[in-house]
Symmetry: C2
Subunit: 248 residues, 2 copies
Amino acid sequence: MFSWFDGRAKRVEIIPRLTTRGERPSTTKVDIKDLTPELLPFLGQSAYFELGVFESLARAVLIAPNLAAKQALSTAAGRALSKHQGLVAEIRRRGAEPADVMAPFVPALDAFRAEITGADWTELLLSCYLAGGLLDDFFIRLSDGLPGEVGPRVAHLLGEDAGAAILATQLAAAIAADAPLASHLALWGRRLVGDTLLIARSALAFAGTTDQAGVVTVAGPAEERIEPVFTELIAAHTRRMDGLGLTA
Amino acid sequence: MFSWFDGRAKRVEIIPRLTTRGERPSTTKVDIKDLTPELLPFLGQSAYFELGVFESLARAVLIAPNLAAKQALSTAAGRALSKHQGLVAEIRRRGAEPADVMAPFVPALDAFRAEITGADWTELLLSCYLAGGLLDDFFIRLSDGLPGEVGPRVAHLLGEDAGAAILATQLAAAIAADAPLASHLALWGRRLVGDTLLIARSALAFAGTTDQAGVVTVAGPAEERIEPVFTELIAAHTRRMDGLGLTA
């Protein structure tokens, strides 16, 4: 259990006090434009994240339990790859070398991916579904603060179908065939969300301090503006869990 | 060492008597239309082959030694996936279920892929480059015999850039950085070609018999027509090996 915001700000316990299930968050859009990082770091982090989603889905293809699942998941892997390629094209358009721009984000994102790879195919799929969904949403929100026309272009790219329906279908079938799997995957999903939100938080253009217990303290007014964004992200996460019949 | 054709037909030793290096084969096109299998089996085998190339390249992405290689190879993996998806679309267009149509080819192609996976990244890359190149060429030749407009459409799809230049660049860099690798990979390439040609042969719409030593005997005039096609495939293979400075 940890919190994102501490000190004078309200303490938000991400786990386990998510949101009330089924309740849609307020539609008032919080302005977090000034928390968007510089363009190239934004592109580098999101591009490397999508490459990681591709790699995770490719691994899911390799270990798929049957040919129909393998075939369907290859489509989802292709969607993640398209997002990566679109972001890489934006990097190249600015005369930068994609590998150089992505490099600073490799250690944290590789560690994250190792954390969420899971012990088997269903854990891996759930990770791709939940982390992919949450971070696509998050990067789309952040893209509001990008300069010029690149923001809408990136939002469009990241908003394209990520094959989420394919992943949800495969997961639902696996859960239907093995009832005890639901409580196991519910635990896994609750574990995932903390690591995933830490990645989201690391993308923000302000520095907080993290103590040894993982409690992030942010001074100033930024945390008050970002908090509703995280609430939205968690609400969407809860809806994904609910859709699979998993208790978030 | 084995031969494709035996008995009354001329014995063609595929290994090691390939072709004279650098010599282009005759441009006279051999007509093998009546050796093309039925449409759905053709699509099933080629679609599952391309899915396998995608999986092999995805594995190469996962174990790539650096980020630039990982990024470049993901593009090549995407090309193989596009070919698979295009072939799957042709299967669906005919109201068939892709997994059902691919299923008969799973055992042989999985065994083939296990054979050519190799012990490390460079062996895996060379397998993708050589087997992918040879079998794309072969399926394009076979597509001549498909009915209606599907033949040209499939030929166009399989003829699209498979990312071969990306693979060749990565392999050339690995060889340049490690001189003894060339003779090791030359051996691996010579080993690969036999298994790859067996897969090609299995796609043909005639039955031969294979004895315990792997000698395939085909009765009748078919072998005389198909022989020049294999000679062309081997010549192209030799040019790929030559391009990397590997002795075929």
